[in-house]
C-alpha cells in the first residue's frame, strides 16, 4: 500500500511526457506537426519577446545582408531583419486565418442549416446559391471582394471569410440531412416536439462538431488564400510584415539574394504542411466517414 | 447458425455419386497452416479430393472454409499471409512453392471459382459478354466470333434464355439468380478440372438456391470435374457432397464420406451443427453456445474446448491429432 502511495505522484508527474511519448510512437508525424504549429502560434503570441528586432527596424549597415550572427536569417532590401519580420508575420497569419475561418464557418452554418432544414423551392434556391459560391475559386472570389472592399487586414479577413462560406455550407447541409434522416429526430418530429427545440437539441449538436473539425482543416486554406492575396499585392498593405507580401518583395531580388523571399516562403510552406498534417490527423480521429480511407 | 434454409434429410444414395476410394487424386492438401498478421487462421488442414468427386467444407462463418478455397485458387499467397504445408494438384507436386507464372497457367483454366455474392463478384463496369469472352479468348485462344458463339452456348447451358441479349447486359441489369448463372458460365468456360464454389447460393433467394445447386452439379458432372463446396448449411452439404470436411476455427474436426459422418457423428461439434438442423426432441442435442474464438485469442489445445460439454483438462492443453475412426478422420480426445 505504501509503495503505491509513493508511486502516485511520480506517475502524475510523468503523465504528460509519457502521453507525448506514446503519441510520438504511434503518430510521429502528427505530433511533430502539432508541435511545429504550436511553435508558430507561440511566436505569434509572444512576438515582441521572441523577435530579436522590431519588424520595421531598418539596419542601414546591413542591406540585403546574408544570414549572420546579427541577423540569423539575413535582411531585406531595407535592412530589416527577416527573422523578426517572419515572427511578427505569424500574427497576421493566425489573425487572418482564425478570423476568416470563423466568418466562413458561421456563415456556412447559417446557410447550411437553412438549406438542410427547408425543403422544396427554398432548399433548391439555397443550394444553387451555395453552388454559385462554389463556382468561383476561393482566391478569385476573395479578389472580387477585395476589389469592392479595398486592401487591408480587416478587408482580407472579410474577403477570405466570405469566400469560404460555400464549402462550409455544403458540409453542414450534408450533416443536417444525415441527422434529420436518423430515427430519433424523426421520432421527435412525430411526437410534436417544437421545431426549434429539435434543431437546438438534436441537430445543432450533431452539426457543430464536424463543423469544428472542418474548421481546423480549413485554417491552412485560409492562410494560403490570404497570403496569396498579399502576394498579388491585393491584401495586406506594406510595410506590414506579412509573409505573402515579403515573398512578393523578395521576388525582384531572387537572382542575387534568394533569402528575402526564401525565408518567409519556407516559413509559410512549413506552417502549411504542418497544419495540413494536423488537419488530416484531426479528421482521421473524428470523422467516421474518413476512417475507411487511410 | 442462423440459416436454416433446407430441412434435414437423411442422405440418400441416388443424390450423389457413390464414394469410391480408388479414384485418382486430383488435389491433395497436406498440413496447410495459414496465418495473417501473426494470427493463425488455418491450422494443419489436410484432405484429398479425387477426380470427379464433390467435397463440402462445412462450418460456421469464420471457420476458415473460404480461406481454404482462396489458398487452393492461389489468391492468398505470401507475403500477404504466411503459408505452410503442401498442395498437390494433378501433375504439380508442390504448387504452393511454385512461382506466380505457374499459377497463371492454372487459374481460370484448370481451377475456377464461383463466389458467394454474384452481385459483387461481377465487375459492374463491364458487360456480361466482356467478362465471359475474356477467358475464352485469352486462355483458350478463341477469336472474337468463336468466343461469342461459345459464350452464347455457355449462357444457354447455364440456363439463361435470350443469351445473345444477355451478353450486352451489365451485371446490375440481371437478377441475383441470373448473375450467379453468369458466374457459373464464366467459371466453367474453360472446362476446369477443379471448381471451387464458395457459398454459391447463400446470397440468393431460397426459391432459386436449389436450381443453382442443381445447375452446378450437372455442369460439374458433365465435365467430370471435381468440386469443392464451401457451405455453412449442413443439410445442403449432405445432399450435394460425396464427402464432407467439418472445420472449426481453422482446424479440421471431422472428415469423411458424407453418409458415415452424418449418420453417426463422432465429434461433439459436428453433433452440435447437426442439432441446428434437426428438429430437436429425439436426442439431447444442444446448439453450440457462444461464438468462434477471436483470431488473436485462439485457445490452446482443442479450439472447440471452451464451448464443448465434454471438454476435459486434456482438451484445453493438448491439440487432438487427426486420426482414423469408424471410416472417417476425427480430431477429438473424447469421440462418440
Amino acid at each position: 500500500m505504501a509503495v503505491r502511495d509513493l508511486s502516485l505522484p511520480d506517475r502524475d508527474a510523468l503523465r504528460l511526457p509519457r502521453l507525448l511519448a506514446d503519441q510520438l510512437r504511434s503518430r510521429p508525424f502528427f505530433v511533430i506537426a502539432a508541435m511545429v504549429s504550436l511553435t508558430f502560434l507561440f511566436a505569434a503570441v509572444f512576438a515582441p519577446w521572441v523577435a530579436p528586432y522590431a519588424p520595421d527596424f531598418q539596419d542601414s549597415n546591413a542591406l540585403m545582408a546574408p544570414p549572420s550572427a546579427a541577423h540569423w536569417c539575413g535582411t531585406d532590401s531595407f535592412g530589416q531583419d527577416l527573422l523578426s519580420r517572419v515572427i511578427y508575420g505569424t500574427r497576421y497569419v493566425f489573425l487572418i486565418g482564425f478570423s476568416s475561418v470563423a466568418i466562413g464557418a458561421v456563415g456556412g452554418l447559417a446557410i447550411g442549416l437553412a438549406a438542410g432544414l427547408t425543403r422544396g423551392a427554398v432548399e433548391w434556391g439555397l443550394m444553387r446559391f451555395v453552388d454559385a459560391i462554389l463556382a468561383l475559386p476561393s482566391l478569385i472570389m476573395a479578389i472580387a471582394f477585395i476589389s469592392i472592399l479595398g486592401p487591408g487586414v480587416d478587408k482580407v479577413i472579410y474577403a477570405v471569410g466570405f469566400a469560404m462560406i460555400g464549402p462550409f455550407a455544403r458540409t453542414v447541409r450534408a450533416d443536417v440531412l444525415q441527422v434529420r434522416a436518423q430515427a430519433f429526430v424523426e421520432a421527435a418530429g412525430l411526437m410534436g416536439v417544437d421545431r426549434l427545440r429539435i434543431i437546438w437539441r438534436h441537430i445543432l449538436p450533431n452539426v457543430i462538431f464536424p463543423l469544428a473539425v472542418q474548421a481546423t482543416i480549413r485554417i491552412a486554406e485560409a492562410i494560403l488564400v490570404s497570403s496569396a492575396l498579399s502576394f498579388l499585392g491585393l491584401g495586406v498593405v506594406p510595410p506590414a510584415p506579412d509573409w505573402g507580401l515579403m515573398i512578393s518583395e523578395g521576388r525582384a531580388f531572387i537572382s542575387i539574394v534568394p533569402w528575402i523571399s526564401g525565408v518567409p516562403g519556407a516559413a509559410l510552406a512549413l506552417l502549411l504542411i504542418a497544419l495540413s498534417i494536423v488537419g488530416d490527423g484531426v479528421r482521421e480521429q473524428f470523422d467516421p466517414k474518413m476512417r475507411t480511407n487511410r | 447458425m442462423t440459416h436454416q434454409s433446407a430441412r434435414w434429410t437423411e442422405p440418400r444414395g441416388e443424390n450423389f455419386l457413390p464414394f469410391t476410394r480408388h479414384r485418382e487424386t486430383l488435389l491433395s492438401l497436406a498440413d496447410i497452416s495459414l496465418a495473417r498478421n501473426g494470427h493463425s487462421v488455418l491450422d494443419h488442414v489436410s484432405f484429398d479430393l479425387g477426380r470427379g468427386e464433390t467435397l463440402g467444407l462445412v462450418g460456421e462463418s469464420g471457420a476458415g472454409k473460404s480461406t481454404i478455397a482462396l489458398v487452393a485458387m492461389g489468391l492468398l499467397r505470401p507475403p500477404a499471409v504466411t503459408l505452410d504445408g503442401r498442395m498437390q494438384f494433378a501433375e504439380h507436386e508442390d504448387l504452393l512453392a511454385e512461382p506466380e507464372a505457374e499459377w497463371a497457367t492454372l487459374r481460370g483454366r484448370r481451377i475456377a471459382m464461383i463466389f458467394q455474392d454474384p452481385a459483387s463478384a461481377l465487375n459492374p463496369c463491364f458487360t456480361v459478354g466482356r467478362q465471359l469472352e475474356a477467358p475464352l479468348r485469352r486462355l483458350l485462344g478463341f477469336d472474337r466470333v468463336a468466343a461469342r458463339r461459345r459464350s452464347i452456348e455457355l449462357l444457354e447451358s447455364a440456363g439463361l434464355n435470350d443469351a445473345e441479349a444477355r451478353l450486352a447486359a451489365f451485371p446490375h441489369e440481371l437478377s441475383g439468380g441470373m448473375q450467379q448463372r453468369v458466374m457459373i458460365a464464366i467459371a466453367l468456360a474453360c472446362n476446369p478440372e477443379l471448381l471451387l464454389a464458395d457459398e454459391p447460393t447463400s446470397a440468393l433467394d431460397v426459391t432459386i438456391q436449389a436450381q443453382i445447386m442443381q445447375l452446378i452439379l450437372e455442369q460439374v458432372r458433365a465435365r467430370n470435374a471435381s468440386c469443392i463446396f464451401v457451405l455453412h448449411d449442413l443439410a445442403l452439404a449432405s445432399q450435394v457432397c460425396d464427402r464432407i470436411v467439418v472445420l472449426y476455427a481453422g482446424q479440421m474436426v471431422e472428415a469423411g464420406p458424407t453418409e458415415s459422418v452424418l449418420r453417426r457423428s463422432l465429434h461433439p461439434y459436428t453433433n452440435a451443427l447437426k442439432s441446428c438442423v434437426i428438429e430437436l426432441d429425439t436426442e439431447a442435442l444442444t446448439p453450440p453456445e457462444g461464438g468462434l474464438p477471436a483470431l488473436g485469442a485462439m485457445p490452446p489445445g482443442c479450439r472447440f474446448a471452451p464451448r464443448c460439454s465434454r471438454a476435459t483438462a486434456q482438451c484445453t492443453s493438448q491439440t487432438p491429432p487427426l486420426r482414423s475412426l469408424e471410416g472417417r478422420e476425427i480430431a477429438c480426445w473424447h469421440p462418440g
Binding site: 479578389i143 | 463466389f115 459483387s120 465487375n123 464464366i186
Partner: protein
C-alpha cells in the same frame, strides 16, 4: 434519363443566373463613380449627365441588369479605359486561351504522373514506396504554389538557366517554343493537383482492389496488369473524374498565382491588374469567365456519370 439531364441543366442555369447577378452587383458595389473614372479628372456636369444616360445608369437596376446581361452574352463587354481596347477582345480572345493552355498543360502533367504514382502506391500498399509517395504528395498539396514557382525560377531559371522564367509563347503558333516556356509554369501549377490525384487514385484503387469482383477476375486468370489497369482503374475513373472536375476551381485559383509569378498574360494576371487599376468591368469579365468555366465543367462531370458508371444508366 432525359428528365434527370434536364434537371441538371436547369440547376446549372440557375447557378449561372446567380453568378451573373453577383458579377453585375460587383460593378454596382465597387467604390467610385464609373462615369467619373471614364471621364478622368476634368469633366463638366453636362457631359457627366449625358454619359450617365448614354450608359443607361439612370434606369432602374433590374433593367440595367437585363441590358448588361444581353450585351454580355453578345460579347459586348465594354471598353477598357486603360488600354482603350474592347474588354471582350482583351479578356476572352487574348487572356483566356493563355489560362486554358496553362491549365490544360498542368492538368495533363498531373494526370500523366499522378495516376501511375497513385496506382503504384495502391498496388504496393504500406510499402516504403507508398509511405514516401504519401509524404511527397502531402508536401506537394500543402506547399504554397506561388512560392514553389519562385523556387523553380531560382533553381531552374537562374541557377541552372535551363528554362525561361517568364512570358508566354502560343503553342499553336510555335509549339516547341510554347512548350518550352510552359515547362516551369506547368510544373508549378500541376504540383498540388498531382499530389491530389496520387491520393485520390491510391485511396480509391485500394478500396476497389478489395472488392470481390477483383478476386473473381484474378480467379478467372486475368494477368496482374489487367487487374490493376483494366478492372481496377475502370472503377476508379468515376471518383477521379469527379475530383478532377470539382478541383478545376482550385486549378484556376493556382493559375492566377502562377501567371503572376511567371508573367503570363492570362485571366489571373488580368484580374489582378484590373483590381490594382480599379478597372471593375475587367474584374467582372474575369469573374464571369471563371464562374462559367467552373459551372460548365461541373455540368459536364455530372452528365458524364452515366457514361462512366453503367449502374447510373437508365434501365
Amino acid at each position: 434519363m432525359l428528365r434527370w439531364a434536364l434537371a441538371k441543366i436547369l440547376q446549372t442555369a440557375a447557378v449561372l443566373l446567380i453568378v451573373s447577378v453577383a458579377s453585375f452587383s460587383l460593378l454596382k458595389l465597387a467604390p467610385g463613380d464609373p462615369v467619373e473614372l471614364m471621364l478622368g479628372d476634368d469633366y463638366s456636369k453636362e457631359s457627366h449627365q449625358s454619359l450617365m444616360i448614354q450608359l443607361g445608369l439612370d434606369r432602374p437596376l433590374p433593367e440595367q441588369y437585363v441590358d448588361w446581361l444581353a450585351r454580355f452574352v453578345r460579347g459586348d463587354w465594354g471598353t477598357s479605359f486603360v488600354s482603350r481596347t474592347p474588354i471582350f477582345q482583351y479578356a476572352f480572345v487574348e487572356a483566356l486561351p493563355v489560362t486554358l493552355t496553362l491549365s490544360a498543360a498542368a492538368l495533363g502533367l498531373a494526370l500523366l504522373i499522378g495516376i501511375p504514382l497513385g496506382v503504384l502506391s495502391a498496388v504496393r500498399k504500406d510499402s516504403a514506396w507508398d509511405a514516401a509517395a504519401a509524404a511527397v504528395s502531402l508536401t506537394g498539396s500543402a506547399f504554397p504554389s506561388f512560392y514553389l514557382g519562385i523556387l523553380l525560377i531560382w533553381i531552374f531559371g537562374v541557377a541552372f538557366g535551363l528554362f525561361p522564367t517568364m512570358g508566354f509563347v502560343a503553342p499553336w503558333s510555335d509549339f516547341w517554343a510554347g512548350a518550352y516556356h510552359l515547362v516551369l509554369p506547368a510544373i508549378t501549377l500541376s504540383t498540388p493537383f498531382m499530389a491530389l490525384i496520387v491520393r485520390i487514385t491510391r485511396a480509391n484503387l485500394v478500396e476497389v482492389l478489395e472488392q470481390p469482383y477483383i478476386a473473381a477476375a484474378r480467379a478467372r486468370g486475368e494477368p496482374a496488369w489487367r487487374i490493376t489497369w483494366v478492372h481496377g482503374m475502370r472503377n476508379v475513373l468515376m471518383p477521379l473524374v469527379t475530383i478532377v472536375g470539382l478541383q478545376l476551381g482550385a486549378l484556376l485559383h493556382g493559375a492566377v498565382l502562377t501567371e503572376t509569378v511567371f508573367s503570363l498574360p492570362g485571366v489571373g494576371r488580368m484580374i489582378t491588374d484590373a483590381v490594382l487599376n480599379r478597372e471593375y468591368m475587367v474584374v467582372q469579365a474575369g469573374v464571369m469567365m471563371t464562374g462559367c468555366l467552373v459551372i460548365f465543367t461541373n455540368l459536364a462531370v455530372d452528365l458524364s456519370y452515366p457514361v462512366l458508371d453503367p449502374r447510373l444508366r437508365p434501365r
